[in-house]
Amino acid sequence: MGVLRVLSRRGDDHITWDEQKLPMNDPETMAAVREAEKIFAATRAKGATAFRIDEGKPVQRIDQFDPTAQQILMVPRVVGG
């Protein structure tokens, strides 16, 4: 399952999709991916940073939404304290 998580004061908000069904253009999966893409863009516009987390691989900062990622985690903009 692919998952997009957005860290917030509520803990985290997330949306999932089945990346196995992506090549089949499964309508439910495609709808979830479109929704995740919208959330990704909106959160990025607020200054958030996105990280791609795949098991056994180093964490990667990303600028484009990728539905093949196992997990995308978005953190709010940070400032020096």
């Binding site: 998580r5 860290l7 917030s8 004061r9 509520r10 803990g11 985290d12 200054g47 940073t49 990280f51 987390i53 180093p58 964490v59 990667q60 900062r61 985690l73 953190v75 709010p76 903009r77 940070v78 400032v79 020096g80 304290g81």
Partner: protein, 133 residues
């Protein structure tokens, strides 16, 4: 007339107290739910060794991707991040999200930023000298 006014006043006080209790309880419930979710996520993101260190020592050491002798000591509770080289603290860093996050999420935020964009992390954080005693 006076007893009625007194009764009304006490009624208002009782109403205010009930409202205050309800708001406080709701805040505590929401905060604890957010903390629980954040801890659950932290268990997914941190390695078992990092979790053990965080639990027993109250901090987690994140190795630098730029300098092999450097680690970033991220505290579980509020506080600054220590930059340690060869076992000594050389600098303190202060960096925070613009939005309030549960504490466990802040640990995740530091880990991800150090591992994926350490240079930006160092540029953004406020730095201060630290004397290791």
């Amino acid at each position: 007339m006076l007893p009625l006014e007194t009764l009304l006043s006490w009624g208002l006080v009782a109403l205010f107290c009930t409202l205050l209790t309800w708001i406080t309880a709701r805040y505590i419930w929401n905060t604890s739910q957010a903390e629980r979710r954040a801890i659950h996520l932290m268990k997914e993101i941190l390695t078992p060794q990092e979790l053990r260190q965080l639990f027993w020592r109250g901090y987690v050491d994140i190795p630098s991707t730029l300098a092999p002798q450097r680690v970033y000591r991220v505290p579980r509770s509020e506080g600054y991040v220590q930059v340690r080289e060869n076992g000594h603290t050389i600098m303190g860093l202060c960096l925070q999200p613009i939005e309030r996050l549960p504490r466990a999420d802040i640990v995740i935020l530091h880990k991800l930023m150090i591992e994926a964009q350490e240079e930006f992390y160092l540029q953004t954080a406020n730095k201060f000298r630290y004397f290791d005693i």
